[in-house]
Amino acid sequence: MTAGTRRAAALGLVGLLAVGVLVVPSAALAESRRERLDNGLTVIVRENPVAPVVAVSLLVKMGTRWEAPATAGIANFVHAVMVKGTAKRTGAELAEAVAALGGKISATGDVDYSEIRASSLARFWRDLLGFVAELALEPTLLPDDVDRERDWLLSRVQKRRDNASSRAFDAFYAALYGPHPYALPVLGTPESLARIDHAAIVAAYRAGYRPDRMVLAVSGQVAASEVLAEAQRRFGGVARDGAGVDPPVPAPIASARRVELEMPAQQSQILAGSLAPPLDHPDHAAVKVLSTILGGGMAGRLFAELRDKQGLAYTATSYYDPVREPGALVLYLGTAPENAPKAEAALLAEVERIRRDPVSTEELTRAKGYLLGRYAMDRRTNERLAWYLAFYAVEGQPPDFPERYRQAVEAVSTADILRVARRYLATLTTLVVRAR
């Protein structure tokens, strides 16, 4: 993954949370089955017969979106401590037990969710599901582990700050989102990590790991009915405990800010961007195409104009990741320090151009092909397939999301591009990290 982004890649469109058992037609041959256990936990299974492997993605609604400056990074912190041991075995023993299934297991925090991810040979799917349940439901969360992991996380925060592009992205999101929690780094800050103690970790774990906040997705050479029954056995006993309603999140306020930082580095970093629709917004597909026209690969305008033609940047790309709350459309350049002022001006000129002139049909077609091709390419492994299934569910999207998304992208017109460019690129936040 590029140093800059902090979110997984996926896409979105409008939809309602599907409940109950249903069979879902999907673009590919395999079908997925989705079921909601009585305690509220959602289980999705996709039978994928092509290889004797299985992947599990357990997503839980805890992440940056529910954090505040004082608790920044707590979701990721909880997961770092969780993998240190369960009621039945140490973290090292757990890793070794899963390795003996020909597999692996890990846990991390993210923006809209946190994830326990595991995979193994398909014939051990039952054992694997057992280990995922053990890690999710019976972590020991020892005080000593909290202290050890805090030190490790602090070193990672420091490392991230020492890296020019990740520091630039963190500062950019902070400037763009203001009071909204998406302004916070997933890893947290030295101040927040120092303040989060054992009691806070335990409390955050308990608040997050409730059945109605969890989605379990399984993809691989398995029988869906057996997996659903086993999921019921492993997770069905978790008590539903009347989880409260999430508190409202402060809205971000778009402002035309320009922030400049300085740090020792080889390259200068230039980010310009704006608030963009969330993944369930009708404009989501059009903004994905807009982002692709500007920064999608070698034929993207930023690469073609600023790198190929003008030689003003090494890296020239764009990001627009699907999230539940307002997204961010980010245009990103990495450039030699002496070229930075020219590169920034050229970047802003590209923004003006796309807000002024309609794109050609050819450019639009290429961008759609690139976008949808990349989307298909990203759903090749069971690990990614399981994640996508869980992700759409945790974001409240319907199971046929990929097909709806594909149709929405195909339907985007040149007029749509002009409209969303004018609407969403009107107020730019700019962040420059000057190399010294």
Partner: protein
Amino acid sequence: MNPVVRTFGVRGALLGAVLLLASGCAAVGAYSATSAGPPMPVREVLPNGVVLIAQEHRASDVVAVQLWMRMGGRDEAPDELGLAHYIEHMIFKGTPTYPPGSIDRLIEGFGGTSNAFTSYDTTHYDFVVPAEHLRATVALLADLAMNASFPPDEIEREKKVVFEEMNLVEDDPDKFLVRRLYEVAYAPHPYGRPLLGTREFIERLRRDQLLAFYRKHFVPKSMAVVVVGAVTPGEVRSAAVATFGRIPPGSAGRPELSPPPTIDRSRRVDVQRPEQQAYLGLAWKTAPTGDEDIYPVDLLTYILGDSPSSRLNQAVRERQRLVSSIEAGYGAWQKAGLVTVNARLDPENAEKAEAAILDVIRKVRETGVTEAERQRAIITAESSYAFDIETAEGLAKAYGQAETTWTLADEVAYLGRLRQIGAAEIQAVARKYFGDDTYARVRFIPTGPPR
């Protein structure tokens, strides 16, 4: 993303270690017992000699299109080292139909990816694209195989890229150690050559040399086209017959190759390097592809050095604390295999660590391996293979490698054979190949003062 980053080297995944140079025809196999009648690849030899292998694989909506050439570093003359790899780069620089730069843009416009690899026995050119672009991609690949232009200015420009690739390998001690081990173990045999070539030759490389090598080796009899993905074999056949099927037949230009000689104590080299840590690499000559011993050698390699619970890790790293990391890998080639053991360590422990590694191997020779170790190794092998073939390109790669360096039938039967290997057979190959004196050794010694 950058089209010029075309890694050389082959899979080492099945082979227990992520060694870039370690190849493995051994990396093949069949489906697990839980699989209900897995689809089999369809293989056909077109009238001009091109082998076509196709399989429907609907894990996603993409298709992998690969061209495998029975041509690699071993086919170069001693004074033209690096030609096969250079051609790998130049193929993507265009044809009369596709001007320079347009190929990468075409594939990228599909949302797809391109890549290519050169090894001793083979080279292969890979595309992964959404399935609807099957015909266009097969046609492109056939055009590259027949009509590469080798534009003179592109040839010159690419020299910098290849030199940079050489620097990258040299800068990476793990990669460079394996590279040096092959050279020390086998030189002057072709398996001991630098696949990227020599700076001297690449600097003076001319277009006519590239063209002559290209014309000699890019003949239908040397080609295997492998297509796996969300397409039917019928669709693949139709696309391939119309393109690859039209290449005029020619005589295959590959000479026979004799196996490399036995390794003895003379094959030991110390290299001064700028790193703080020292590196130790040992290599034993073992079974080539096609040999029945590949199965027990593969399992032995896993048992020795695949995971934290492996013998070398437990003995040399955990108990004796002589190394900070250690791993074993198995590269199986058509004329020989090489099992490598690589460790990172403090320079003062180099002698002790080498003795400890030999002790671990001696113990396997004397008392064999346990049933638990054997079973764990089989699961690791299965897992490595299973995750390789879950994507269309991974399965295509397994088939292409088998077709060009082994056989497709052996590939499909691999895991079944592996499961039947007993502890006695593993001990037998330890005795047969792993002598106290029959290994090559490379050590990287820090030039700076120790920390």
